[in-house]
């Protein structure tokens, strides 16, 4: 049936259908590569991210990150002008590095390029060399190439972690520690990860670790750089670790990761695991920690697992058969989907905004029970997600706050996970991983569904 409004060709439709406009990105479900790099650098102690390019990139990324973590996020930039774009950025880079070194006294400057410096073909190794020659007391300097026309924020994140390891890690002195490469998780996740590793006697080197730098305490004095983060010394020593645990299925197919560099250069055994979201993935992760440490899983964790299962029994009917749309970074989507399958929720659409050739095979490998008719979309934007979601009639959305408009349109709850969460307090404290994270997710999902039923009930029972 043709609606009357469709016949008036020059009127703007109330809800235009952009699903056929495939030449454009329409409400992206991804961010640019330098954002990921800046986030990763923020997880190194005393580090300041430094973008070689326009000032706007730094400002936009700062605002975006600040609005999620609600913490200061200083990013310096070499502030290109028209002259710089024509004659190259050496002068700006040197002046910028000098200024940052003086004002921030960083232990590390994390350099990342932008589209502009990449497009004009800046020779970063040469520039860094001349910076080292020209500036006497330059701190450690790491550089990652992050042209945003190549990949998305998650690529910038992993590439920056790889760059840190590649450019800082020195000759290996065996120390029996554990390298934990968590991927892009929340501050609460990183804290919990440390706690889990400690449960097995590990003082793990978690890289990056922005659990304090992006979720810290109030200050009496303004700190140019917040406390916390992985020490540069600890990164230098990562080659001497007993093993590396790298989290995220997409990393297996990625040609260059921090874990692979440590394996290839220093023979550190590498174990790539699914993000420990949900029971099965957490079991696998804890088993790995148990095996590496030779210690059993502590009773407290077993009890936590028990409580989780007990609650799942209590509320299994609330969640069973409900249809979910899950979107975000590929590895987080895999973890979340795996958990939702465990509680009887049917994933009708799994969408990732970035490009990962192995997204579908990773999903199916990690979750063998994933229904064959679950739609899996790689490189999706929110118009793609909305079009599929409307057709699949979900009961809930699981993903970042950018899906709120869609949730509102569909009249279903949005379970906020991942990054960014710009419309609620506490995005940095959303716990996804471990049994404890699964418990929080489970309670959120079950309660959102109960609340919706209650709100839509004509009776309004207070006893459910």
């Amino acid at each position: 049936m043709i609606a009357e409004s469709d016949l008036i060709s020059d009127a703007i439709p109330e809800r235009p259908d952009f699903s056929h406009c495939t030449s454009a990105s329409r409400n992206a479900c991804k961010l640019c590569t330098p954002l990921g790099a800046c986030l990763a650098y923020r997880g190194v102690r005393g580090a300041i991210p430094f973008l070689h390019g326009s000032q706007g990139c730094a400002t936009y990324i700062r605002r975006y990150v600040i609005s999620h973590f609600r913490e200061p996020m200083d990013i310096a930039a070499s502030n290109f002008s028209e002259d710089t774009a024509v004659f190259g950025g050496e002068k700006n880079l040197l002046a910028g590095l000098r200024n940052v070194a003086r004002q921030y006294r960083p232990e590390l400057i994390g350099l990342a390029t932008t589209c502009l410096s990449e497009t004009i073909g800046e020779d970063m190794p040469a520039l860094i060399h001349s910076a080292r020659e020209a500036i006497a007391d330059l701190p450690a300097l790491v550089h990652v190439s992050t042209a945003s026309y190549r990949g998305s924020h998650i690529d910038g994140f992993h590439d920056a972690v790889a760059a840190l390891v590649d450019q800082l890690t020195g000759p290996a002195i065996a120390h029996g520690g554990l390298n934990l490469l968590p991927g892009m998780l929340s501050a609460a996740d990183l804290r919990h990860l440390r706690e889990l590793a400690e449960n097995f006697g590990f003082d793990a080197t978690i890289l990056p670790d922005y659990s304090d730098t992006l979720d810290g305490v109030p200050w009496a004095d303004y700190e140019a750089l917040p406390e916390g983060g992985t020490a540069v010394e600890a990164i230098r020593a990562m080659g001497g670790a007993r093993a590396t645990l790298e989290l995220g299925d997409s990393l297996r197919a990625r040609p260059r990761t921090a874990g692979k560099i440590l394996r290839d250069r220093f023979n550190v055994p590498l174990h790539v695991k699914t993000l420990p979201v949900g029971i099965g993935a957490t079991d696998i992760f804890l088993d790995a920690l148990a095996e590496l440490s030779g210690r059993p899983i502590p009773p407290a964790l077993i009890a936590e697992r028990g409580r989780l299962i007990d609650s799942m029994v209590d509320a299994h009917k609330v969640v069973f058969g409900r249809r979910a749309v899950i979107y975000g970074e590929a590895d987080l989507v895999i973890g979340l989907t795996s958990f939702l399958c465990e509680i009887g929720i049917q994933p009708v659409l799994c969408a990732s905004g970035g490009r990962s050739r192995t997204f579908e095979s990773d999903l199916r490998a990690a979750i063998p029970e994933l229904p064959a008719d679950t739609l899996i979309r790689n490189e999706a934007d929110f118009v793609d997600i909305a079009a599929e979601a409307r057709a699949t009639v979900p009961d809930l959305l699981v993903g970042n706050s950018k899906g709120y408009g869609l949730a509102r349109e569909l009249g279903v709850p949005l379970i906020r996970t991942g990054f960014p969460i710009h419309d609620r307090i506490g995005g940095q404290r959303v716990l996804h991983i471990g049994y404890r994270g699964a418990q929080q997710l489970f309670d959120s999902v079950a309660n959102a569904l109960l609340a919706r039923k209650q709100e839509h009930s004509t009776v309004g029972y207070s006893y459910l």
């Binding site: 439709p13 930039a77 502030n79 200024n99 303004y222």
Partner: protein
């Protein structure tokens, strides 16, 4: 209380002055490399000005970041179409950078225009579109001819100047629409509102004031903006320019080409709102309009004064820091805070000009620190040294204040609270009150340390 010293960069020494010193502030400089400037870029300036035009298509020609970071973050409301709340980008990939992005841009525009029938399309160039040699103008021209709507290039590569240059590029883009609409039937008592962006519905409040006075608002540029209104804005008799930094260029062009005079106004605070209404009413030489304006102001003041008085009693003597994008807004804020009994001890802007800073200096109390294009470290340093109770700024300044345990009031485009006009003044007072008087400050180190010290001194 002593604090860790924070150094002001050598390159920035002349961009910080104290009102009591004789020194002239230096401004309009390109930001020092490596300083964490709170400014954005040329693209940001253009995007922020054009964004509220709700029946236009906005397409960012570039890699994904520029579009992603500007997706639906602002509080600029529309009473009708919501096209502006989408984020469209050509999402340039490596192959586009090598082979050019013109084809992709053309295809994207054609598809999007077919899907939503916009009244016009704005195509923003970004840092790399010029460098890879895309002829954005040509693509716009072709698609415009095919689709029959104005497809307007916005010359906004991020590095090609400061945010101010982006404002100018936006004004140039807008000017392509100006003069193309029918101006028949426009009242002789008519104005345009320039640089008013309908944050939290503020344009509607202003339009209501003018309706009550009997002045027709032909176009608000760009709050709740419509292409057809911009097309006929040259039919108005006066331009009221609120955000002068962004819109003075357009106002000057309208003055030059259409002999429409303009006045800088502000709708923040009681004094400035009243002054703006009187100015608009007075310009037409009609005593009836003057009378209605005075009546309106009197009625509104009677309505809000009791509540303001209550807040003033509580807030008297509190100290504030202001750091905003445009200096003109800073003037209004200094006055609005004064109306609440508060004192501004630090004030600055991202883009003020020498004239702005001279006026600011005159307006402020002795001892006030004035900064141009500041950064987190400087702002923090002064907030602590001056022991402020409130910081007014935008999202990037918020964590500086909060980390130090200082109340904060968002006065930027992302806010969702109406702060303009008389009603807005009450909202502002409420927000300042909630920011300054919250008991949570009792727990932050800045206060607990002081309490500990005075307790020790007493003992």
């Amino acid at each position: 209380m002593t604090h860790k010293p924070i150094e002001i960069l050598e390159a920035r020494r002349d961009q910080v002055v104290c009102k009591s010193d004789g020194a002239e502030i230096v401004c309009g400089k390109h930001s020092a490399s490596g300083s964490v400037s709170q400014r954005a870029c040329v693209f940001c300036g253009s995007r922020v000005v054009l964004y509220p035009i709700a029946d236009a298509l906005h397409v960012v020609h570039g890699p994904i970041g520029c579009a992603a970071y500007t997706w639906d973050i602002r509080g600029a409301q529309s009473s009708g179409p919501q096209l502006h709340r989408n984020s469209f980008s050509t999402d340039l990939q490596e192959r586009d950078v090598i082979f050019g992005g013109e084809k992709k841009l053309g295809a994207a525009l054609r598809e999007l225009i077919a899907a939503c029938h916009p009244k016009a399309a704005f195509v923003y160039s970004t840092c790399i579109t010029g460098i890879i040699g895309d002829d954005v103008d040509a693509v716009c021209k072709t698609v415009g001819a095919e689709t029959g709507i104005p497809v307007i290039p916005v010359e906004s590569p991020g590095f090609s100047g400061t945010k101010k240059d982006g404002y100018r590029a936006a004004c140039e883009a807008l000017y392509k629409l100006v003069g193309t609409g029918d101006i028949a039937g426009i009242s002789r008592h008519s104005i345009n509102l320039l640089g008013e962006f309908n944050i939290a519905g503020e344009t509607w409040m202003m339009k209501d004031y003018f309706r009550r006075i009997g002045v027709e608002v032909v176009a608000c540029i760009t709050g709740d903006g419509r292409v057809d209104e911009i097309r006929r804005c040259h039919g108005a008799k006066l331009n009221l320019v609120q955000c002068s930094g962004s819109m003075q260029h357009l106002a000057k062009k309208l003055e030059q080409d259409y002999a429409i005079p303009f006045q800088r106004v502000s709708f923040f605070g009681i004094e400035d709102t009243a002054a703006a209404l009187y100015a608009a009413a007075g310009v037409f030489g009609d005593a009836e309009l003057d009378r209605r304006a005075r009546e309106l102001v009197a009625a509104e003041l009677t309505r809000i004064q009791p509540e303001l008085r209550r807040f003033r009693k509580i807030l008297r003597g509190k100290k504030a820091a202001i750091y905003v994008g445009g200096a003109f807004k800073a003037f209004s804020l200094v006055r609005a805070l004064r109306a609440l009994g508060m004192r501004t001890v630090l004030v600055g802007s991202q883009t003020g000009n020498p004239d702005d800073y001279r006026q600011l200096k005159e307006l402020c109390d002795p001892g006030t620190i004035i900064v141009d294009d500041s950064n987190p470290l400087e702002l923090a340093k002064f907030c602590l040294e001056l022991d402020v109770d409130l910081f007014i700024g935008g999202v990037k300044e918020r964590p500086i204040a909060y980390k130090l345990g200082i109340g904060f009031c968002d006065h930027n485009h992302e806010r969702k609270e109406a702060l303009a006009g008389f009603e807005g003044m009450v909202n502002f007072a409420r927000e300042v009150h909630a920011s300054v008087m919250s008991p949570v400050w009792n727990f932050v180190p800045r206060r607990t340390r002081r309490a500990e010290r005075s307790w020790r001194e007493a003992a």
